[in-house]
């Protein structure tokens, strides 16, 4: 471009024109947007500094060069297509994204937004103007968000924690690195690679090409997420480090939750086992069988319990149900079961045992609405049979199944245990002759449902009538099958059943 020498006495119009051309030059030169004017052979007529810097050059140097020579590959190719379209159609091409490097930041992926437009002189296209804007930061921010979103989904998947971490590692390559390795610090202190490749010793990498983000949850380091650049030659900046830290935090929470879940399972299992006798004892003259099924997936400890043990010359059978689920309910269940053993050392009738149990629950925990229902039976040999004395504290009545086929409930209602300091309890006895059975159960049996219809007490009694005279084990298994067949799906409540039959 040729500068007119300033002439004294210049006409105001000419001065104005010169002023505006200088202004335009300034605008073009200083613009943060890359600009080039290309002639129909795609040679540079004019380029500003921002554009020239893409190739590490200066704007004036480029004049006369072909665009593909003035800029590093793949710029020439990326510009050429739309350039020809503008020449052919005379229409501008707006806002195409170009992924191409910049000499100013060789280690980073760059994305540009480019527009081409025709420059006409007397109707003829004499040049094509090109504007390119560096949108790398925005694109990277968007990719980072998308990555965090995808990783969030991967970590929420219902898979084992190591599979989820594996998915995370697969997702971040190549957006955030050429390699990704996740190592976990085991509770034993051992470090174990759970995803990606082990980072080989001796592969020296500088901080520009490596990020090690802690897997961190509740202020504890649970492992490391390592991202590494390799063949792509890219390097990391603060934005990458921020995303990596986020990923590490999320992965840490996933690991932490998985460990908490495992711990809960173990606690639940331990507690559950403490609620039941490991095996029913051998009782002379009596066959005993039990059925127990905790609800759900095993994480929630049930509130049902049963026990059978010797107390002096007699035997005590207990079944109970603590309101609610989980560790808190299990603690009360455990207290109830173990207290009853301690409270039956003398020959106290069941109502007295339950009254003492109520007092000890309140002494231990205070009055509370978390109550228990318990049925307690004392079995004393008498002649060829057994005298069964039953007391019920808010619990469904034990059923006496006569070998001849009659089924009768035993015991009057009594107050549930826990919320009230004073309880009203009774003792009711029945003579069991050989072949007769006493069946204690929790409401999980009668309340097992299908489509809202409960198994119910009537169905249980009618089933037991059909099972009259059978062995204890046979009765327990038949009830189990019938209840399972009735509810069909997973149980909504625990259920427990204890069958005591006088040996024929």
């Amino acid at each position: 471009m040729i500068e007119e020498p300033s002439a004294p006495g210049e006409a105001p119009e000419a001065w104005e024109l010169r002023e505006s051309r200088e202004l335009l030059d300034t605008i073009i030169t200083c613009a943060p947007v890359g600009f080039a004017l290309l002639d129909p052979a795609m040679r540079v007529v004019r380029a500003n500094e921002t554009l020239a810097n893409i190739g590490g050059r200066s704007g004036d140097d480029l004049v006369g060069e072909r665009a593909q020579d003035a800029l590093p590959p793949p710029w020439g190719e990326a510009l050429a297509g739309p350039f020809r379209r503008v020449l052919e159609t005379g229409e501008p091409v707006d806002d195409l994204e170009i992924a191409a490097p910049s000499a100013a930041e060789p280690g980073r992926d760059h994305t540009w937004l480019a527009s081409w437009y025709p420059v006409r002189h007397e109707g003829e296209i004499v040049a094509v103007g090109v504007f390119v804007t560096d949108i790398s930061d925005r694109v990277r921010a968007e990719r980072g968000l998308q990555l965090l979103f995808d990783v969030g989904e991967a970590l929420d998947a219902t898979l084992g924690v190591e599979e989820r971490l594996g998915r995370l590692a697969a997702l971040v390559v190549p957006t955030l690195g050429d390699f990704c390795t996740i190592e976990m610090l085991e509770p034993t202190g051992e470090i174990r690679v759970v995803a990606g490749d082990a980072i080989l010793a001796g592969t020296a990498v500088d901080g520009e090409r490596l990020i090690a983000a802690p897997l961190r949850a509740r202020a504890r380091d649970l492992g490391t997420l390592t991202l590494r650049m390799g063949p792509s030659g890219r390097t990391y900046d603060d934005a990458d480090r921020a995303i990596a830290l986020q990923l590490g935090r999320r992965a840490g929470i996933a690991v932490d939750n998985a460990r908490l879940y495992d711990a809960q399972l173990r606690i639940a299992d331990t507690l559950q086992r403490s609620l039941l006798p490991p095996a029913l004892p051998e009782v002379p003259g009596i066959e005993a069988a039990a059925l127990y099924s905790p609800m759900g997936d095993g994480v929630e400890v049930g509130g049902d319990f049963y026990d059978l043990f010797a107390a002096g010359p007699s035997w005590v059978a207990v079944i109970g149900d603590v309101c609610g689920k989980g560790v808190e309910a299990a603690a009360l269940t455990s207290l109830a079961r173990h207290s009853i053993r301690a409270l039956t050392r003398d020959d106290a009738p069941p109502s007295v045992v339950l009254e003492r149990l109520n007092a000890s629950i309140i002494a231990e925990r205070g009055l509370e609405a978390r109550f228990s229902t318990v049925a307690c039976a004392r079995l004393v040999p008498s002649g060829s049979g057994v005298t069964a004395t039953v007391s019920r504290a808010g619990h469904p009545p034990p059923l006496v199944v006569r070998s001849a086929g009659r089924v009768d409930p035993l015991g009057r209602p009594g107050t549930l245990l826990g919320p009230f300091a004073e309880v009203r309890l009774h003792d009711d006895a029945a003579e069991l002759t050989p072949g007769d059975a006493l069946v204690l159960y929790t409401d999980g049996i009668t309340e097992a449902r299908r489509d809202g219809e409960m198994f119910g007490e009537d169905r249980l009694r009618s089933l037991l009538r059909d099972l009259a005279g059978r062995g204890a084990e046979e009765i327990a298994r038949a009830v189990e099958r019938a209840v399972a067949a009735h509810h069909g799906g997973p149980l909504g409540d625990d259920l427990a059943l204890l069958v005591l039959r006088v040996s024929p």
């Binding site: 609405a369 209602p413 919320p419 309340e447």
Partner: protein, 116 residues
């Protein structure tokens, strides 16, 4: 009143002005929290008598019962009363009799008797 025993049916309605909570359906682990919140909302007005109408409850389990006992304990501490309305011999009535909660909580069969 005939009601379809639906597995997931539960409804609770509150009348804060009259101090009444009316429940229908299954009062169990899945729904006891809804009843608890409804009772707490009515308690804010500190009605001298809080009526919990359970005549249309088809099933109550231990967690549902616990919500009622909780409300009764709070009322006692606050010098108020809780009255439960049940159908005599109905599903809730049976459970209250089985557990002798009837010794401790005012249970009536007729809502008109509740406000007395």
């Amino acid at each position: 009143m005939a009601r379809e025993a639906d597995k997931d049916s539960f409804e609770v309605a509150t009348d804060r002005a009259r101090g009444v909570v009316t429940v229908a359906g299954d009062l169990d682990l899945a729904h006891c929290q809804d009843l608890r919140l409804a009772i707490l909302a009515v308690e804010e007005t500190r009605p001298p008598v809080l009526v919990v109408d359970l005549r249309e409850v088809v099933h109550i389990d231990s967690t549902g019962l616990r919500v009622i006992l909780d409300a009764s304990t709070r009322a006692e501490a606050d010098g108020r009363r809780v009255v439960v309305v049940v159908e005599p011999g109905g599903p809730v009535g049976k459970v209250l009799e089985l557990t002798l909660v009837t010794d401790r909580i005012e249970v009536v069969g007729d809502p008109a008797a509740a406000q007395g």
